[in-house]
């Protein structure tokens, strides 16, 4: 059993004409929280979908637990997905099911456990995220933070090996942000999960990640533990960590020289 659960090798991916990733490599170590940071719009969510096999890369390998995800047959891919789970930004709770049924959904689909056993597991998972009392509510009745926690309970229902968080901190008030930071850390330690956190909330990520990749300009521009990263000499990494408005990533979207366009108007 190797130390690396997910190994991305020389990944290239493009959407139509637009290149998203070029020749990118990353490793995610078993039992650790690995974060991927970067400015918005560089396809961080795309990366998670590539790992989940929902998108197929142009070239490169994505090894998950020894199998190459892009090369898998449909049924083998579905087998592999049972060992991973993903927490979507919106939570992606099924709106027509109650919180309890949402968490029970993967259990009912993939196991033949009795209803009483399912009930036991669901209550356990809901207890872990602190929502045992909310089990009969519908997703529409939950606040954003609660919905994300309920989705987290559903994501860990089948005890996966890998859990991917897509922007878990986006749009949360400070309290629920604190709750989620704590949950990610605790679940990782208690269940021996491997976690991938995609985010651009620097402070929160730096506080929980064991290892951080900074992605920009179609590939990895900086990596290391949070301490190593703070000492990184790259101006791009520093700009991102400090949140400067202008710098290596320019404030202005690529355009013709401003003077030229103004002159054109005068003609």
């Amino acid at each position: 059993m190797s130390d690396v659960l997910v190994d991305i090798q020389n990944l290239s991916f493009s959407r139509g004409e637009r290149v998203i990733y070029r020749d990118m490599s990353m490793q995610f170590v078993r039992g650790k929280v690995t974060a991927i940071m970067g400015p918005s719009g560089i396809g961080k969510t795309t990366l998670l979908k590539l790992i989940g096999g929902q998108l197929i890369p142009d070239s490169g390998n994505i090894l998950f637990d020894g199998v190459n995800i892009p090369k898998l047959s449909r049924s083998a891919l579905y087998q592999a997905r049972k060992k991973m789970s993903m927490l979507f930004q919106s939570g992606a709770l099924f709106t027509e099911l109650s919180v309890f049924d949402n968490v029970a959904f993967p259990l009912r689909e993939h196991t033949r456990l009795s209803e009483s056993l399912i009930r036991l597991i669901v209550l356990m998972k809901l207890e872990a995220v602190g929502l045992r009392g909310a089990r009969d509510l519908m997703p529409a009745e939950l606040s954003g933070g609660m919905a994300r926690r309920a989705a987290l309970a559903r994501a860990i229902a089948l005890d996966p090996e890998l859990i991917m968080y897509d922007e878990p901190f986006a749009g949360q008030d400070p309290i629920s942000m604190g709750v989620i930071v704590r949950l990610i850390r605790e679940l990782n330690n208690a269940l021996g999960l491997t976690s991938i956190v995609v985010s651009h909330d620097v402070k929160e990520v730096m506080s929980i990640a064991d290892y951080v990749y900074v992605v920009a300009d179609k590939t990895v521009i900086g990596q290391g533990t949070p301490e190593q990263l703070r000492a990184d000499p790259s101006p791009l990494v520093q700009q991102f960590l400090n949140g400067d408005a202008d710098g290596a990533v320019p404030f202005h979207y690529k355009a013709a020289a401003y003077e030229d366009e103004l002159m054109e108007l005068g003609k």
Binding site: K49, G52, Q79
Partner: protein, 260 residues
Amino acid sequence: MIANRLQKIGHQTLSTISGFGRAGIMLFGAIVGKPDFRKGFPLFIKQLYVIGVLSLMIILVSGLFIGMVLSLQGYNVLVKFGAEGMLGPLVSLSLLRELGPVVTALLFAGRAGSALTAEIGLMKATEQLSGMEMMAVDPLRRIIAPRFWAGVVAMPLLALIFNAVGILGGHLVGVEWLGVDAGSYWSAMQANVDLYQDVLNGVIKSAVFALVVIWIALHKGFDAIPTSEGISRATTQTVVTASLAVLGFDFILTALMFGG
């Protein structure tokens, strides 16, 4: 200029064809393969409720009124020739052959079809479909297939109910109100209506319409751009495309069944 326009036409043709392709692949993925009755049947029943039972009210009411109007209008024409005895066949044949299947399909497209498109489009927009896929559950099997089968089963049943209610509505106006003899209403109907030629052909028609409408509705939802504007456009497209498709297929089927 002309080259530009040609390019645009070519582009549109290609995207239409690829739309057909995506719709076909979706349906293929949903209904081909080993069905799982243990999990599938409860979902099917649930959808039969949502698609069929909830459409019942509009079908009953419009069936009754269309039968009544047919009877009233038919009577006014027939009575000029002293042929009001033919009111029964007029009402029943119009309903069984044409109005029953067609109006049911149009109402169905508006009532159930648009709801399905919006539901699936929203599921896509809120990443529920994606989430399901990541949980190793195929959304084509879990979401599309039960809705497809429920629609295909529900519509012919709704059309039968529509026909029966319409003929009763015709009876109500023709016999009870306008005073056509009840015996001649029913016996002329019995002499002119054939079980296979008229009743069953109507059922076949509505089964074909069901397939077309439900397929369009599911595809438009599944293929919708996951924004609020995209979903509203997909919903509109479902109603428009499905209605036009129903009328087009109606002409083809009528020509095949009654044209020769």
